[in-house]
Subunit: 254 residues, 2 copies
């Protein structure tokens, strides 16, 4: 049983889901394991309408937050965890098998992190662009003969694992394991990092750093880099201050 | 990744499933986690037809075994694990939370057990009669506000847990924990126990042991008792021999 505060620490994000039954199943799994923060990014309108009007729709689906972009949905989170089958891709982030995720998350939660668990659309999973917003990726260990899981079932499996093993009971000692974010600072949210990335990109452009053809690739690499650094809010403030200053100088009339 | 021998040790049994989508989802979860033995007990005919004719039906659903009764479906198994929400019932068997099941099962598997994981129908779960065929019950820890899980999701969660934690890699040492069945004997199958129960019941009737009104209740208690005893095949042979002898004497003309 999770406490009220624990329930609030985890947000489930569905990016462009296509099947109303899957949306309902994801919401039901959340209710089963005691979570209630659901965000849906750019849902297909008829799908979204149908999912919310189904009989027995859980309350949390009716109060789900709709966002236009993943960046917007996870802006308030300090740890963004992408999910999916990674057989055909070579991800740039650390990939954690689901059974190893709980001790890691327990440490983050003990530091007051707010965590997003992000699922891509049924057909394509998370895009390269979505992945660039994730700090780490989690993989459910499945059989190579049938690696790809149904969305509702994948959500159920992840939430079972986390509800059971990532949220320590009040009396239990904190879990062992390396932290992703250094302690004793407040971790930067995804929104902070995006703001920082924007200012740095603007600086790159203003400085003529990269040709136009390279700008998308650079943006991607920059996002990943900023997430790997595990910045605190104070770090972000400092770096932002620096880049704004540089930018002001670059844009000042000569 | 499970070995071929490990895949064979676990059978999933669906009792009277009503929704073809749930049957498909259960089969898909089995394929995801590398299992392939599926039994379906007394399926509703149109449901069963529809589930097997869906696009992309996994091979294991086409080769699923259909049985008229649960007793028949689990006849070859040495450990029958019932699943479900137990909030409204007071089960007579040991109830194991899913996160504690793996070490227990790992020990059973090391002794060559064949295990059945049994799911009741979506509406009612396992009946009292079904439950009397189970050695233990497993419960997925869910939120009291929404305890009941969707069938396909419940199968996915259980198989994830067991595939990940109950099947030790060949090089790993066997898991710690108490065994349900004493080692160094071959455990009696559910079919053996049913045969034994039948002969004992016949003896009860022949001996005028219980009034007609009590016979159903006695049958139920007898099944549970036999399962709690963790009998070996040799035990079963001996007890059978004894009861057959008694029965012969009871039925012999005076």
């Amino acid at each position: 049983m999770l406490t009220e505060a624990q329930r609030d620490c985890l947000e489930v994000v569905l990016v462009s889901p296509r099947n109303p039954l899957n949306i309902g199943a994801a919401a039901r799994a959340m209710a089963n394991f005691g979570f209630h923060r659901l965000s849906v990014v750019a849902p297909f309108a008829p799908t979204w309408r149908e999912a919310r009007s189904a009989v027995g729709t859980p309350e949390l689906l009716l109060s789900a937050i709709e966002s236009a972009t993943l960046a917007e949905a996870v802006a308030g989170c300090t740890l963004v965890v992408g999910t999916g089958t990674l057989t055909c891709r070579k991800p740039e982030q650390k990939v954690v098998p689901l059974p190893d995720l709980a001790p890691l998350m327990a440490r983050e939660l003990a530091q007051g992190s707010r965590i997003a668990l992000v699922y891509g659309s049924e057909k394509h999973g998370l895009t390269r662009d979505d992945l660039s917003l994730c700090h780490i990726l989690v993989e459910i260990p499945t059989d190579p003969g049938q690696p790809s899981m149904n969305l509702g079932q994948a959500v159920a499996v992840c939430l079972y694992e986390l509800a059971t093993r990532a949220f320590p009971s009040p009396e239990a000692p904190p879990a062992e394991g390396a932290s992703l974010i250094p302690p004793a600072t407040s971790a930067a949210t995804s929104g902070h990092l995006d703001l920082l990335a924007e200012v740095i990109e603007e600086t790159m452009r203003a400085a003529g750093y990269s040709p136009k053809s390279m700008q998308a690739a650079n943006r991607h690499d920059l996002r990943l880099l900023l997430r790997r650094l595990a910045l605190s809010t104070r770090d972000v403030r400092r770096i932002l201050g620096l880049f704004r200053r540089i930018l002001w100088r670059l844009n000042a009339p000569q």
